[in-house]
Symmetry: C2
Subunit: 421 residues, 2 copies
């Protein structure tokens, strides 16, 4: 057992060292080379479509006990492979985030100081069995000049290997180091452990998946982590909300897609408007297939609503279910969010600019919205082109993590012989 | 023993929870209140001068076995207390970093997206026995809206408590929560352990001190760390260097102050100019009291130089000693830095812009300089007004950490009822 663990630790270390050397080369690669690699990888995905689908069929055959939802996430189709290829081409179209001047100033002694964007280095990506993440994450890391080691779910290893072959082909075609994109060379879970202990070898770990996976990574990693464990998002319907807008926004925020992290899980509604508005909101959502968990004040208005248990307001449903609490104004809404929220995304619906300002100023969440659907918390919707995830921690990046957030910075100090007094 | 550890863990947790509540209030405090607190604390430092010096005398009396250098760092004088007070007032003069709009754009659907600076939250500061760090770090955290728990060296506890009383007085005078600045309530080293394990309670740990302290914090912390373990800085004298400038810069970079992290530890010099220039550089530095560890190629030119041992090029001397290696051009200089450097600060001296560009592009250090002394790596010299440390990690902030780097960001999304398609 220890011999196997040692062997896996060695495998990881050797992958990470190759990734470091590749990162040094990729980090200085000009944009045309990176874009050529992405486009060649897209072409390879299309050319190897048959092999990718065959590998995916083997993965599916090897995992007969999966739930229907899990099976769907694992399944590749020609359309899904084509979407992956298009995704690579779209990342090639995005501006190069590396080398941007983020700030520049001069000092009285004549020194010019420039803060410039540079790649982070070597990123470890740990995710569950959605094979497309292999291509999406690799594309964003490649374009931002970072090497990446991808460890997907063990059920999708053959699919991941087939996709990875296309990325390797793209890197080769562009004269870039193949080790810039690697997939874990073993399905053994000890490889994840080696990644989590990989301080000095990895610069950053990005986990994507359910709360269990992300929480484990956050708790055990000795490497910085960029992630969100859950998105317990709130929509707060303020006393001065436009009722028609509140209906439209809540229906979208809750029901457009219930399984994404930016979906609203809890409705907070001001006591002043709840008697008139809450029954309409509930009827709208019920018609869309939503059910409810309501506090006593909400049930006093809509007695048919099921009572919320103590833990319900701290539960990310990721489903067609809405928690409802009646509150008294902005401070009470903020207090509820502080107690139950996950610092992801919260929205206020109001026509009262002062109330919106008070609400937004009082939040510490990664994203605060005014009169917009919480489902807009997304890198594409923010204009980032693509995202590798959403971060709710306090350091480096918060909210959608796109190409710019996959960069760090450094300083250039340009002098003419200045010495420090 | 376990009962004591449990009790200390409880002490830490209670301090951290009070800090969190204070941070929520301080994070929204307007600039005038924060500045008033800093100015009132400065006034209190002057008013309580006698008590502070008496507490410091007790600290000194209680630690008889200290080295002269350590004793000097621990000692307070009226001038040093006055400098602390002036430091607080200078931070009050700096712009408020909180609430700045870092970026703003609109989306085709009319959503306006704004990235704004906000405090990180609760910071843990672990440092050795320089009592002034108590005031300096507290001032920067306070101004940036962060609560801080300060754990200084156990030899300086009475001094730290006396200084802390002034900060508490300042916070009180300004109507801000006293728990925003706390000192560890116990000298027990287990408190440091509790801080290091404080994920969820602390958002960030900043260690300041020797390599041993910082390395321990980096290795053991389960909380993000912003720091540098060492500053193994290089000055590279390129073949096209102006000899007079090279002499001036190297003397300053090595000898202005030898004990700071931005001091140059290694001279790299191109083989093309070493025969003429190295003897002059060595003579200059020798006249300033520097000694040397040189590789074989340097000793072929200056045979009197002591030979460098294998580990010398990886040693941060922090003293009047210079490692010297002769290299062949920019790629070899970069390769040496990659193998031995600490990603802190490196400088090239050259009149050749293309060589400078090649050198700076090839670095991954936090700071790269052209024709300037590495000793300029400092928050004050960068124009930040003050710094809480230098960071050499890859995430969040690199180089000098000032008020702006003590902030994170969040997004405000301002809509007019948009729903996501």
């Amino acid at each position: 057992m220890n011999a196997i663990a040692d062997e896996i630790a060695r495998l990881f270390e050797s992958a990470a060292r190759a990734a470091r050397a590749a990162a040094e080369q990729l980090g200085r690669a000009p944009r045309p080379a990176k874009d050529a690699a992405l486009r060649a990888a897209a072409a390879a995905l299309r050319a190897r479509m048959g092999a990718i689908l065959a590998a995916n069929a083997e993965d599916l055959a090897g995992a007969p006990g999966l739930s229907a939802a899990y099976r769907d996430r694992l399944t590749l189709t020609p359309a899904r492979v084509e979407a992956m290829a298009r995704g690579l081409e779209e990342v090639a179209e995005l501006p190069d985030p590396v080398g941007r001047t983020l700030a520049e100033w001069s000092r009285p002694n004549g020194l010019r100081i420039r803060r410039v964007a540079q790649p982070i280095g070597v990123i470890g990506m740990i995710f569950e069995s959605r094979p497309n993440v292999t291509a999406d994450a690799a594309a964003l890391c490649l374009k931002s000049g970072n090497a990446v080691i991808l460890r997907g779910g063990s059920e999708s290893l053959r699919s991941a290997a087939a996709i990875h072959a296309c990325l390797a082909e793209g890197l080769r075609a562009a004269g870039l180091p193949e080790a810039a994109v690697q997939v874990a060379p073993t399905a053994d879970r000890a490889f994840v452990g080696a990644m989590l202990r990989g301080a000095g070898l990895l610069d950053l770990i990005i986990p994507r998946g359910g709360k269990g996976l992300v929480t484990r990574v956050m708790e055990e990693a000795r490497v910085p982590v960029l992630a969100h464990a859950e998105g317990l998002c709130h929509t707060y319907v303020h006393a001065a909300a436009d009722p028609a807008m509140a209906r439209r926004l809540l229906a979208n925020a809750k029901m457009r897609r219930t399984g994404i992290c930016g979906a609203t899980e809890t409705l907070l509604i001001d006591a002043a408007v709840a008697p008139a508005l809450l029954p309409v909101l509930v009827a709208d959502l019920r018609a869309l297939g939503c059910d409810f968990r309501a506090d006593d004040r909400a049930r006093a208005i809509c007695p048919e609503l099921p009572a919320a248990a103590a833990a319900d307001f701290s539960t990310e449903w990721l489903d067609a279910r809405l928690s409802i609490a009646v509150v008294d104004g902005v401070p009470a809404a903020l207090e509820h969010i502080r107690r139950h929220g996950s610092e992801h995304t919260e929205a206020i619906v109001t026509e009262d600019a002062a109330a919106a300002e008070e609400f937004l100023a009082g939040l510490s969440s990664a994203v605060g919205m005014w009169n917009a659907s919480t489902q807009f918390c997304d890198g594409g919707e923010f204009g980032f082109g693509a995202e590798i995830g959403i971060a709710t921690g306090r350091l480096h990046a918060r909210g959608p993590v796109g190409l710019e957030q996959l960069c760090t910075y450094r300083y250039l100090v340009l002098g003419t012989g200045q010495t420090r007094p």
